[in-house]
Symmetry: C2
Subunit: 297 residues, 2 copies
Protein backbone atom coordinates (compact mmCIF):
# COMPACT_ATOMS: atom_id res chain seq x y z
CA UNK A 1 0.00 0.00 0.00
CA UNK A 2 1.54 3.25 -1.10
CA UNK A 3 1.07 6.92 -0.40
CA UNK A 4 0.90 9.62 -3.03
CA UNK A 5 1.80 13.04 -1.70
CA UNK A 6 0.64 15.88 -3.92
CA UNK A 7 2.58 19.10 -3.60
CA UNK A 8 6.23 19.53 -2.67
CA UNK A 9 6.23 22.69 -0.55
CA UNK A 10 7.33 22.62 3.08
CA UNK A 11 4.48 20.34 4.24
CA UNK A 12 4.73 18.02 1.22
CA UNK A 13 8.45 17.54 1.81
CA UNK A 14 7.98 17.06 5.58
CA UNK A 15 5.21 14.48 5.23
CA UNK A 16 7.15 12.66 2.49
CA UNK A 17 10.18 12.41 4.75
CA UNK A 18 8.28 10.98 7.73
CA UNK A 19 6.06 8.59 5.77
CA UNK A 20 9.02 7.30 3.74
CA UNK A 21 10.40 5.77 6.95
CA UNK A 22 7.63 3.13 6.98
CA UNK A 23 5.88 3.26 3.63
CA UNK A 24 6.68 3.50 -0.02
CA UNK A 25 5.44 6.70 -1.57
CA UNK A 26 5.48 8.98 -4.59
CA UNK A 27 5.91 12.72 -4.20
CA UNK A 28 4.07 14.65 -6.91
CA UNK A 29 5.78 17.96 -7.71
CA UNK A 30 4.52 20.75 -9.89
CA UNK A 31 7.82 21.22 -11.74
CA UNK A 32 9.78 18.43 -13.46
CA UNK A 33 13.03 20.09 -12.41
CA UNK A 34 12.14 19.65 -8.73
CA UNK A 35 11.18 15.99 -9.22
CA UNK A 36 14.45 15.31 -11.07
CA UNK A 37 16.46 16.96 -8.28
CA UNK A 38 14.72 14.93 -5.56
CA UNK A 39 15.19 11.67 -7.50
CA UNK A 40 18.88 12.46 -7.93
CA UNK A 41 19.83 13.95 -4.55
CA UNK A 42 17.19 12.56 -2.23
CA UNK A 43 15.11 14.55 0.24
CA UNK A 44 17.11 16.26 2.99
CA UNK A 45 15.47 16.79 6.37
CA UNK A 46 17.00 19.28 8.79
CA UNK A 47 16.18 19.48 12.47
CA UNK A 48 18.17 21.57 14.91
CA UNK A 49 21.79 21.09 13.87
CA UNK A 50 21.52 17.70 12.19
CA UNK A 51 20.22 16.45 8.89
CA UNK A 52 19.23 13.16 7.25
CA UNK A 53 18.65 12.34 3.61
CA UNK A 54 15.96 9.94 2.43
CA UNK A 55 15.79 8.55 -1.10
CA UNK A 56 12.24 8.94 -2.36
CA UNK A 57 10.51 8.77 -5.69
CA UNK A 58 9.25 12.02 -7.18
CA UNK A 59 7.47 12.86 -10.40
CA UNK A 60 5.77 15.80 -12.07
CA UNK A 61 3.30 13.48 -13.81
CA UNK A 62 -0.21 13.73 -12.49
CA UNK A 63 -1.29 10.10 -12.54
CA UNK A 64 -1.88 9.93 -8.77
CA UNK A 65 -1.97 6.13 -8.91
CA UNK A 66 -1.69 5.40 -5.16
CA UNK A 67 -4.83 4.64 -3.25
CA UNK A 68 -4.01 6.92 -0.31
CA UNK A 69 -3.36 10.45 -1.50
CA UNK A 70 -2.36 13.39 0.68
CA UNK A 71 -2.99 16.80 -0.89
CA UNK A 72 -0.61 19.38 0.58
CA UNK A 73 -0.80 22.16 -2.03
CA UNK A 74 -1.91 25.64 -0.99
CA UNK A 75 -5.57 26.35 -1.50
CA UNK A 76 -4.96 28.66 -4.45
CA UNK A 77 -3.47 25.71 -6.38
CA UNK A 78 -6.15 23.19 -5.50
CA UNK A 79 -8.62 23.72 -8.36
CA UNK A 80 -6.43 22.12 -11.03
CA UNK A 81 -5.80 19.07 -8.83
CA UNK A 82 -9.50 18.52 -8.10
CA UNK A 83 -10.10 18.09 -11.85
CA UNK A 84 -7.70 15.15 -11.88
CA UNK A 85 -8.90 13.65 -8.59
CA UNK A 86 -12.52 13.50 -9.68
CA UNK A 87 -11.60 11.21 -12.61
CA UNK A 88 -9.80 8.66 -10.41
CA UNK A 89 -11.32 5.40 -9.20
CA UNK A 90 -12.46 5.52 -5.54
CA UNK A 91 -9.68 5.95 -3.01
CA UNK A 92 -8.76 7.76 0.21
CA UNK A 93 -7.72 11.41 -0.04
CA UNK A 94 -6.49 13.52 2.88
CA UNK A 95 -6.65 17.29 2.41
CA UNK A 96 -4.22 19.39 4.47
CA UNK A 97 -5.17 22.98 3.68
CA UNK A 98 -5.57 26.09 5.80
CA UNK A 99 -8.94 27.77 5.93
CA UNK A 100 -12.20 26.36 4.62
CA UNK A 101 -12.08 27.70 1.08
CA UNK A 102 -11.37 24.21 -0.31
CA UNK A 103 -14.57 22.67 1.08
CA UNK A 104 -16.83 23.70 -1.85
CA UNK A 105 -14.61 21.72 -4.24
CA UNK A 106 -15.10 18.47 -2.32
CA UNK A 107 -18.67 17.87 -3.52
CA UNK A 108 -17.37 16.49 -6.82
CA UNK A 109 -15.21 13.94 -4.98
CA UNK A 110 -17.99 12.10 -3.16
CA UNK A 111 -16.96 8.70 -4.52
CA UNK A 112 -13.69 8.94 -2.57
CA UNK A 113 -13.18 8.62 1.15
CA UNK A 114 -12.33 12.19 2.07
CA UNK A 115 -10.33 13.03 5.17
CA UNK A 116 -9.70 16.59 6.29
CA UNK A 117 -6.59 17.33 8.25
CA UNK A 118 -4.74 20.20 9.79
CA UNK A 119 -1.04 20.23 10.35
CA UNK A 120 0.41 21.90 13.40
CA UNK A 121 3.99 21.36 12.30
CA UNK A 122 6.33 24.24 11.68
CA UNK A 123 8.40 23.63 8.54
CA UNK A 124 10.44 25.71 6.13
CA UNK A 125 11.30 24.60 2.61
CA UNK A 126 15.02 25.41 2.40
CA UNK A 127 15.25 24.56 -1.29
CA UNK A 128 13.62 22.21 -3.82
CA UNK A 129 14.80 19.08 -2.03
CA UNK A 130 15.35 20.20 1.58
CA UNK A 131 13.00 20.92 4.44
CA UNK A 132 13.66 22.17 7.96
CA UNK A 133 11.39 20.98 10.77
CA UNK A 134 11.09 24.08 12.96
CA UNK A 135 8.18 23.11 15.20
CA UNK A 136 6.95 19.71 16.31
CA UNK A 137 3.18 19.45 16.09
CA UNK A 138 0.55 16.84 15.45
CA UNK A 139 -1.61 16.17 12.42
CA UNK A 140 -5.28 16.26 13.32
CA UNK A 141 -7.48 14.24 10.98
CA UNK A 142 -11.23 13.91 10.72
CA UNK A 143 -13.62 12.04 8.39
CA UNK A 144 -15.49 14.33 6.01
CA UNK A 145 -17.83 11.73 4.55
CA UNK A 146 -18.54 9.30 7.37
CA UNK A 147 -20.35 6.78 5.17
CA UNK A 148 -17.18 5.62 3.43
CA UNK A 149 -15.19 2.73 4.93
CA UNK A 150 -11.99 3.69 6.72
CA UNK A 151 -8.84 2.86 4.81
CA UNK A 152 -6.80 0.15 6.53
CA UNK A 153 -3.62 2.17 6.20
CA UNK A 154 -5.26 4.95 8.17
CA UNK A 155 -5.78 2.67 11.19
CA UNK A 156 -2.17 1.63 10.82
CA UNK A 157 -1.02 5.26 10.77
CA UNK A 158 -2.94 5.92 13.97
CA UNK A 159 -1.48 2.83 15.62
CA UNK A 160 2.16 3.43 14.67
CA UNK A 161 2.64 6.89 16.09
CA UNK A 162 6.02 8.55 15.64
CA UNK A 163 7.09 10.81 18.53
CA UNK A 164 7.89 13.75 16.22
CA UNK A 165 4.99 13.09 13.87
CA UNK A 166 1.88 12.29 15.90
CA UNK A 167 -1.57 11.81 14.41
CA UNK A 168 -4.82 12.55 16.24
CA UNK A 169 -8.25 11.45 15.06
CA UNK A 170 -10.91 14.12 15.66
CA UNK A 171 -14.67 13.53 15.75
CA UNK A 172 -15.90 16.77 14.24
CA UNK A 173 -14.18 18.12 11.15
CA UNK A 174 -16.13 21.38 11.34
CA UNK A 175 -14.97 22.22 14.84
CA UNK A 176 -11.43 21.18 13.95
CA UNK A 177 -11.26 23.44 10.87
CA UNK A 178 -13.04 26.29 12.62
CA UNK A 179 -10.51 26.30 15.45
CA UNK A 180 -7.62 26.31 12.98
CA UNK A 181 -9.25 28.98 10.83
CA UNK A 182 -9.65 31.27 13.85
CA UNK A 183 -5.97 30.84 14.68
CA UNK A 184 -4.90 31.45 11.07
CA UNK A 185 -7.25 34.39 10.57
CA UNK A 186 -5.98 36.21 13.64
CA UNK A 187 -2.30 35.41 14.12
CA UNK A 188 -1.24 35.21 10.46
CA UNK A 189 -2.39 38.54 9.00
CA UNK A 190 -1.53 40.52 12.13
CA UNK A 191 2.02 39.20 12.39
CA UNK A 192 2.46 39.72 8.64
CA UNK A 193 1.40 43.38 8.81
CA UNK A 194 3.11 44.22 12.11
CA UNK A 195 6.21 42.19 11.17
CA UNK A 196 6.50 40.53 14.55
CA UNK A 197 6.86 36.99 15.89
CA UNK A 198 3.74 35.26 17.18
CA UNK A 199 4.52 35.87 20.86
CA UNK A 200 4.54 39.67 20.45
CA UNK A 201 0.78 39.62 19.79
CA UNK A 202 0.11 38.78 23.43
CA UNK A 203 3.18 40.34 25.09
CA UNK A 204 2.47 43.80 23.67
CA UNK A 205 -0.74 45.29 25.10
CA UNK A 206 -1.58 47.37 22.02
CA UNK A 207 -1.13 44.36 19.73
CA UNK A 208 -3.18 42.19 22.08
CA UNK A 209 -6.02 44.69 21.89
CA UNK A 210 -6.15 44.57 18.08
CA UNK A 211 -5.74 40.78 18.16
CA UNK A 212 -8.86 40.66 20.31
CA UNK A 213 -10.83 43.05 18.04
CA UNK A 214 -9.90 40.87 15.07
CA UNK A 215 -10.79 37.69 16.98
CA UNK A 216 -14.23 39.11 17.81
CA UNK A 217 -14.96 39.78 14.13
CA UNK A 218 -13.81 36.28 13.14
CA UNK A 219 -15.97 34.47 15.72
CA UNK A 220 -18.93 36.69 14.84
CA UNK A 221 -18.74 35.43 11.25
CA UNK A 222 -18.20 31.80 12.24
CA UNK A 223 -21.00 31.97 14.81
CA UNK A 224 -19.12 29.90 17.40
CA UNK A 225 -20.55 28.89 20.75
CA UNK A 226 -17.41 28.64 22.86
CA UNK A 227 -15.91 32.11 22.36
CA UNK A 228 -14.12 32.33 25.72
CA UNK A 229 -12.40 28.98 25.22
CA UNK A 230 -11.40 29.89 21.65
CA UNK A 231 -9.88 33.22 22.78
CA UNK A 232 -7.85 31.24 25.33
CA UNK A 233 -6.82 28.89 22.50
CA UNK A 234 -5.58 31.75 20.27
CA UNK A 235 -3.50 33.13 23.15
CA UNK A 236 -2.13 29.67 23.94
CA UNK A 237 -0.99 29.23 20.32
CA UNK A 238 0.72 32.67 20.45
CA UNK A 239 2.53 31.58 23.59
CA UNK A 240 3.44 28.08 22.36
CA UNK A 241 4.80 29.48 19.08
CA UNK A 242 6.11 32.74 20.52
CA UNK A 243 9.47 32.53 18.78
CA UNK A 244 7.98 31.54 15.40
CA UNK A 245 7.24 33.73 12.42
CA UNK A 246 3.84 32.82 11.00
CA UNK A 247 3.67 31.37 7.49
CA UNK A 248 2.02 34.55 6.21
CA UNK A 249 4.72 36.76 7.74
CA UNK A 250 7.33 34.54 6.05
CA UNK A 251 5.45 34.66 2.73
CA UNK A 252 5.38 38.48 2.88
CA UNK A 253 9.07 38.64 3.80
CA UNK A 254 10.00 36.37 0.90
CA UNK A 255 7.71 38.12 -1.61
CA UNK A 256 5.52 35.03 -2.11
CA UNK A 257 1.79 34.86 -2.59
CA UNK A 258 0.08 34.44 0.79
CA UNK A 259 -2.96 32.38 1.75
CA UNK A 260 -4.97 35.54 2.52
CA UNK A 261 -7.74 34.64 0.06
CA UNK A 262 -8.41 31.25 1.59
CA UNK A 263 -8.36 32.70 5.10
CA UNK A 264 -9.66 36.29 5.32
CA UNK A 265 -11.06 36.22 1.76
CA UNK A 266 -13.19 33.23 2.72
CA UNK A 267 -14.41 34.99 5.90
CA UNK A 268 -15.28 38.14 3.94
CA UNK A 269 -17.47 36.06 1.61
CA UNK A 270 -19.26 34.51 4.60
CA UNK A 271 -19.72 37.95 6.20
CA UNK A 272 -21.19 39.38 2.99
CA UNK A 273 -23.80 36.63 2.84
CA UNK A 274 -24.90 37.46 6.36
CA UNK A 275 -24.35 41.23 6.10
CA UNK A 276 -21.93 41.36 9.01
CA UNK A 277 -19.69 44.43 9.33
CA UNK A 278 -16.03 43.41 9.63
CA UNK A 279 -13.85 46.55 9.32
CA UNK A 280 -10.69 45.09 10.84
CA UNK A 281 -10.77 41.98 8.65
CA UNK A 282 -11.47 44.15 5.58
CA UNK A 283 -8.56 46.43 6.45
CA UNK A 284 -6.15 43.52 6.89
CA UNK A 285 -7.34 41.76 3.74
CA UNK A 286 -6.66 44.80 1.56
CA UNK A 287 -3.41 45.60 3.35
CA UNK A 288 -2.05 42.10 2.59
CA UNK A 289 -3.44 42.06 -0.97
CA UNK A 290 -1.87 45.48 -1.56
CA UNK A 291 1.50 44.36 -0.26
CA UNK A 292 1.30 41.28 -2.53
CA UNK A 293 0.56 43.56 -5.50
CA UNK A 294 3.51 45.83 -4.64
CA UNK A 295 5.85 42.85 -4.71
CA UNK A 296 4.70 41.55 -8.05
CA UNK A 297 4.81 44.94 -9.82
CA UNK B 1 13.31 92.81 15.66
CA UNK B 2 14.46 89.27 16.26
CA UNK B 3 12.98 85.80 15.92
CA UNK B 4 13.21 83.09 18.53
CA UNK B 5 12.81 79.62 17.11
CA UNK B 6 11.97 77.01 19.72
CA UNK B 7 12.92 73.45 18.84
CA UNK B 8 15.80 72.31 16.66
CA UNK B 9 14.36 69.31 14.82
CA UNK B 10 14.04 69.30 11.03
CA UNK B 11 11.52 72.17 10.90
CA UNK B 12 13.35 74.28 13.51
CA UNK B 13 16.60 73.95 11.59
CA UNK B 14 14.90 74.67 8.25
CA UNK B 15 13.06 77.79 9.47
CA UNK B 16 16.21 79.04 11.22
CA UNK B 17 18.19 78.75 8.01
CA UNK B 18 15.69 80.67 5.87
CA UNK B 19 14.90 83.38 8.42
CA UNK B 20 18.59 83.92 9.17
CA UNK B 21 18.99 85.26 5.62
CA UNK B 22 17.03 88.43 6.51
CA UNK B 23 16.65 88.54 10.28
CA UNK B 24 18.66 87.98 13.38
CA UNK B 25 17.43 85.05 15.40
CA UNK B 26 18.08 82.70 18.26
CA UNK B 27 17.52 78.96 17.91
CA UNK B 28 16.44 77.36 21.20
CA UNK B 29 17.58 73.74 21.43
CA UNK B 30 16.65 71.18 24.04
CA UNK B 31 20.21 69.93 24.56
CA UNK B 32 23.20 72.17 25.34
CA UNK B 33 25.40 69.89 23.23
CA UNK B 34 23.36 70.67 20.11
CA UNK B 35 23.44 74.46 20.77
CA UNK B 36 27.23 74.32 21.28
CA UNK B 37 27.67 72.41 18.01
CA UNK B 38 25.55 74.87 16.02
CA UNK B 39 27.36 77.87 17.53
CA UNK B 40 30.70 76.29 16.61
CA UNK B 41 30.01 74.80 13.19
CA UNK B 42 27.05 76.81 11.93
CA UNK B 43 23.86 75.41 10.47
CA UNK B 44 24.29 73.42 7.25
CA UNK B 45 21.46 73.39 4.74
CA UNK B 46 21.41 70.73 2.02
CA UNK B 47 19.29 70.86 -1.09
CA UNK B 48 19.73 68.49 -4.01
CA UNK B 49 23.50 68.15 -4.38
CA UNK B 50 24.59 71.47 -2.85
CA UNK B 51 24.90 72.81 0.64
CA UNK B 52 25.32 76.17 2.39
CA UNK B 53 26.29 76.93 5.96
CA UNK B 54 24.81 79.84 7.95
CA UNK B 55 26.25 81.05 11.24
CA UNK B 56 23.41 81.39 13.72
CA UNK B 57 23.11 81.78 17.46
CA UNK B 58 21.79 78.81 19.42
CA UNK B 59 21.18 78.23 23.12
CA UNK B 60 19.63 75.65 25.40
CA UNK B 61 18.54 78.38 27.86
CA UNK B 62 14.80 78.95 27.91
CA UNK B 63 14.61 82.71 28.22
CA UNK B 64 12.73 83.17 24.92
CA UNK B 65 13.51 86.90 24.92
CA UNK B 66 12.56 87.69 21.31
CA UNK B 67 9.15 89.18 20.67
CA UNK B 68 8.35 86.88 17.71
CA UNK B 69 8.63 83.26 18.72
CA UNK B 70 8.11 80.25 16.45
CA UNK B 71 7.37 77.00 18.27
CA UNK B 72 8.47 74.02 16.13
CA UNK B 73 8.66 71.24 18.73
CA UNK B 74 6.52 68.13 18.31
CA UNK B 75 3.26 68.21 20.15
CA UNK B 76 4.38 65.70 22.76
CA UNK B 77 7.07 68.18 23.89
CA UNK B 78 4.85 71.26 23.97
CA UNK B 79 3.55 71.13 27.53
CA UNK B 80 6.86 72.12 29.17
CA UNK B 81 7.26 75.05 26.77
CA UNK B 82 3.77 76.40 27.44
CA UNK B 83 4.69 76.79 31.12
CA UNK B 84 7.52 79.16 30.16
CA UNK B 85 5.54 81.03 27.45
CA UNK B 86 2.68 81.90 29.79
CA UNK B 87 5.07 83.80 32.10
CA UNK B 88 6.44 86.01 29.29
CA UNK B 89 5.30 89.58 28.60
CA UNK B 90 2.91 89.84 25.62
CA UNK B 91 4.42 88.96 22.25
CA UNK B 92 3.67 87.09 19.01
CA UNK B 93 3.93 83.29 19.01
CA UNK B 94 3.53 81.10 15.92
CA UNK B 95 2.76 77.42 16.56
CA UNK B 96 3.78 74.96 13.84
CA UNK B 97 2.43 71.60 15.07
CA UNK B 98 0.63 68.76 13.38
CA UNK B 99 -2.83 67.84 14.58
CA UNK B 100 -5.00 69.84 16.93
CA UNK B 101 -3.86 68.37 20.23
CA UNK B 102 -1.97 71.56 21.10
CA UNK B 103 -5.06 73.82 20.96
CA UNK B 104 -6.26 73.15 24.53
CA UNK B 105 -2.95 74.54 25.86
CA UNK B 106 -3.41 77.89 24.14
CA UNK B 107 -6.08 79.17 26.52
CA UNK B 108 -3.39 80.12 29.07
CA UNK B 109 -1.56 82.23 26.46
CA UNK B 110 -4.36 84.68 25.71
CA UNK B 111 -2.23 87.73 26.45
CA UNK B 112 -0.02 86.88 23.45
CA UNK B 113 -0.85 87.25 19.79
CA UNK B 114 -1.18 83.61 18.77
CA UNK B 115 -0.67 82.48 15.18
CA UNK B 116 -1.28 78.93 14.06
CA UNK B 117 0.66 77.62 11.12
CA UNK B 118 1.15 74.49 9.13
CA UNK B 119 4.30 73.71 7.26
CA UNK B 120 4.14 71.91 3.94
CA UNK B 121 7.91 71.62 3.63
CA UNK B 122 9.65 68.29 3.47
CA UNK B 123 12.79 68.31 5.59
CA UNK B 124 15.08 65.75 7.17
CA UNK B 125 17.40 66.49 10.07
CA UNK B 126 20.68 64.90 8.94
CA UNK B 127 22.41 65.53 12.27
CA UNK B 128 22.36 68.07 15.12
CA UNK B 129 23.44 70.95 12.88
CA UNK B 130 22.38 69.89 9.37
CA UNK B 131 19.04 69.81 7.61
CA UNK B 132 18.07 68.58 4.14
CA UNK B 133 15.24 70.35 2.33
CA UNK B 134 13.52 67.49 0.52
CA UNK B 135 10.27 69.14 -0.53
CA UNK B 136 9.45 72.78 -1.25
CA UNK B 137 6.18 73.83 0.32
CA UNK B 138 4.58 76.90 1.79
CA UNK B 139 3.89 77.86 5.37
CA UNK B 140 0.22 78.59 5.89
CA UNK B 141 -0.48 80.93 8.79
CA UNK B 142 -3.72 82.05 10.40
CA UNK B 143 -4.63 84.28 13.35
CA UNK B 144 -5.93 82.34 16.35
CA UNK B 145 -6.99 85.32 18.49
CA UNK B 146 -8.15 87.96 16.01
CA UNK B 147 -8.46 90.70 18.62
CA UNK B 148 -4.70 91.09 18.99
CA UNK B 149 -2.82 93.56 16.77
CA UNK B 150 -0.79 92.02 13.95
CA UNK B 151 2.95 92.10 14.55
CA UNK B 152 4.77 94.40 12.11
CA UNK B 153 7.33 91.71 11.31
CA UNK B 154 4.53 89.44 10.19
CA UNK B 155 3.42 91.92 7.49
CA UNK B 156 7.07 92.14 6.47
CA UNK B 157 7.35 88.34 6.24
CA UNK B 158 4.29 88.24 4.00
CA UNK B 159 5.67 91.01 1.80
CA UNK B 160 9.18 89.60 1.35
CA UNK B 161 8.36 86.17 0.01
CA UNK B 162 11.23 83.84 -0.75
CA UNK B 163 10.67 81.54 -3.74
CA UNK B 164 11.62 78.41 -1.76
CA UNK B 165 10.00 79.56 1.46
CA UNK B 166 6.60 81.08 0.70
CA UNK B 167 4.11 82.21 3.31
CA UNK B 168 0.33 82.25 2.86
CA UNK B 169 -2.10 84.00 5.16
CA UNK B 170 -5.29 81.98 5.70
CA UNK B 171 -8.59 83.35 7.00
CA UNK B 172 -9.84 80.40 8.94
CA UNK B 173 -7.42 78.56 11.23
CA UNK B 174 -9.96 75.82 11.92
CA UNK B 175 -10.38 74.89 8.26
CA UNK B 176 -6.63 75.10 7.75
CA UNK B 177 -5.82 72.75 10.65
CA UNK B 178 -8.69 70.41 9.79
CA UNK B 179 -7.42 69.98 6.24
CA UNK B 180 -3.90 69.27 7.47
CA UNK B 181 -5.17 66.92 10.19
CA UNK B 182 -7.11 64.88 7.62
CA UNK B 183 -3.98 64.54 5.49
CA UNK B 184 -1.83 63.58 8.47
CA UNK B 185 -4.41 61.19 9.92
CA UNK B 186 -4.76 59.26 6.68
CA UNK B 187 -1.41 59.27 4.85
CA UNK B 188 0.92 59.11 7.87
CA UNK B 189 -0.29 56.06 9.78
CA UNK B 190 -1.09 54.05 6.64
CA UNK B 191 2.32 54.60 5.05
CA UNK B 192 3.97 53.85 8.40
CA UNK B 193 2.18 50.50 8.77
CA UNK B 194 2.35 49.45 5.12
CA UNK B 195 5.93 50.73 4.77
CA UNK B 196 5.31 52.43 1.44
CA UNK B 197 5.89 55.86 -0.06
CA UNK B 198 2.95 58.28 -0.19
CA UNK B 199 2.20 57.66 -3.88
CA UNK B 200 1.56 53.93 -3.34
CA UNK B 201 -1.59 54.74 -1.37
CA UNK B 202 -3.36 55.84 -4.55
CA UNK B 203 -1.50 53.74 -7.15
CA UNK B 204 -2.37 50.47 -5.44
CA UNK B 205 -6.11 49.74 -5.54
CA UNK B 206 -6.18 47.77 -2.29
CA UNK B 207 -4.31 50.51 -0.43
CA UNK B 208 -6.56 53.17 -1.95
CA UNK B 209 -9.60 51.32 -0.66
CA UNK B 210 -8.31 51.31 2.94
CA UNK B 211 -7.15 54.93 2.57
CA UNK B 212 -10.75 55.80 1.70
CA UNK B 213 -12.20 53.78 4.62
CA UNK B 214 -9.82 55.59 6.96
CA UNK B 215 -10.64 58.97 5.38
CA UNK B 216 -14.37 58.34 5.92
CA UNK B 217 -13.84 57.69 9.64
CA UNK B 218 -11.70 60.83 10.00
CA UNK B 219 -14.20 63.16 8.31
CA UNK B 220 -17.04 61.59 10.31
CA UNK B 221 -15.29 62.63 13.52
CA UNK B 222 -14.40 66.11 12.26
CA UNK B 223 -17.92 66.62 10.89
CA UNK B 224 -16.73 68.36 7.71
CA UNK B 225 -19.04 69.79 5.07
CA UNK B 226 -16.90 69.45 1.94
CA UNK B 227 -16.10 65.73 2.01
CA UNK B 228 -15.74 65.27 -1.76
CA UNK B 229 -13.26 68.15 -2.05
CA UNK B 230 -11.26 66.90 0.93
CA UNK B 231 -11.00 63.38 -0.55
CA UNK B 232 -9.66 64.99 -3.74
CA UNK B 233 -7.20 66.94 -1.57
CA UNK B 234 -5.87 63.80 0.16
CA UNK B 235 -5.33 62.12 -3.21
CA UNK B 236 -3.62 65.24 -4.58
CA UNK B 237 -1.18 65.28 -1.65
CA UNK B 238 -0.42 61.57 -2.24
CA UNK B 239 0.31 62.38 -5.87
CA UNK B 240 2.35 65.53 -5.21
CA UNK B 241 4.47 63.76 -2.59
CA UNK B 242 4.45 60.35 -4.28
CA UNK B 243 8.17 59.76 -3.88
CA UNK B 244 8.26 60.93 -0.24
CA UNK B 245 8.21 58.83 2.88
CA UNK B 246 5.84 60.38 5.41
CA UNK B 247 7.28 61.69 8.68
CA UNK B 248 5.57 58.89 10.60
CA UNK B 249 6.99 56.22 8.29
CA UNK B 250 10.44 57.76 8.82
CA UNK B 251 9.93 57.91 12.59
CA UNK B 252 9.00 54.22 12.62
CA UNK B 253 11.97 53.29 10.43
CA UNK B 254 14.34 55.20 12.70
CA UNK B 255 12.81 53.87 15.93
CA UNK B 256 11.68 57.33 17.07
CA UNK B 257 8.48 58.27 18.89
CA UNK B 258 5.81 59.18 16.33
CA UNK B 259 3.14 61.88 16.47
CA UNK B 260 0.38 59.26 16.63
CA UNK B 261 -1.07 60.63 19.89
CA UNK B 262 -1.51 64.16 18.56
CA UNK B 263 -3.05 62.85 15.33
CA UNK B 264 -5.07 59.63 15.77
CA UNK B 265 -5.02 59.87 19.58
CA UNK B 266 -6.68 63.28 19.33
CA UNK B 267 -9.31 61.94 16.91
CA UNK B 268 -10.04 58.95 19.16
CA UNK B 269 -10.74 61.36 22.04
CA UNK B 270 -13.13 63.37 19.84
CA UNK B 271 -14.87 60.18 18.67
CA UNK B 272 -15.32 58.96 22.24
CA UNK B 273 -17.05 62.20 23.24
CA UNK B 274 -19.51 61.76 20.38
CA UNK B 275 -19.71 57.94 20.59
CA UNK B 276 -18.61 57.42 17.01
CA UNK B 277 -17.34 53.96 16.00
CA UNK B 278 -13.91 54.19 14.35
CA UNK B 279 -12.52 50.65 13.98
CA UNK B 280 -9.88 51.48 11.34
CA UNK B 281 -8.50 54.44 13.31
CA UNK B 282 -8.48 52.35 16.48
CA UNK B 283 -6.64 49.54 14.71
CA UNK B 284 -3.99 51.88 13.30
CA UNK B 285 -3.55 53.74 16.59
CA UNK B 286 -2.80 50.53 18.50
CA UNK B 287 -0.67 49.14 15.69
CA UNK B 288 1.59 52.23 15.75
CA UNK B 289 1.63 52.43 19.57
CA UNK B 290 2.53 48.74 19.70
CA UNK B 291 5.37 49.16 17.21
CA UNK B 292 6.68 52.11 19.26
CA UNK B 293 6.59 49.92 22.38
CA UNK B 294 8.47 47.09 20.60
CA UNK B 295 11.24 49.50 19.68
CA UNK B 296 11.69 50.89 23.16
CA UNK B 297 11.74 47.49 24.90
Amino acid sequence: MDFGIIGAGSLGLLYSFYLSKDYSLTLYTNRKQQADLINKRGLSYFKDDTYTTAMIQATSDRNYKEDFLIVTVKQYDIEAIIDVLKELSPRTILFLQNGMGHLPYLSVLSKHQILLGISEHGAIRLNDHSVKHTGIGVTKISHYNQDKPQHSIFSQLLAEQHSLFGIELKDDWHNMLTEKLIVNATINPLTAILKVKNGELIKNNDFKQILYELFKEVVLILDVQNEVKLWEHVQTICKKTEKNESSMYKDIQDGRQTEIDSILGYLIQCARKNQIMIPTITFLYHAIKGIEACRTN
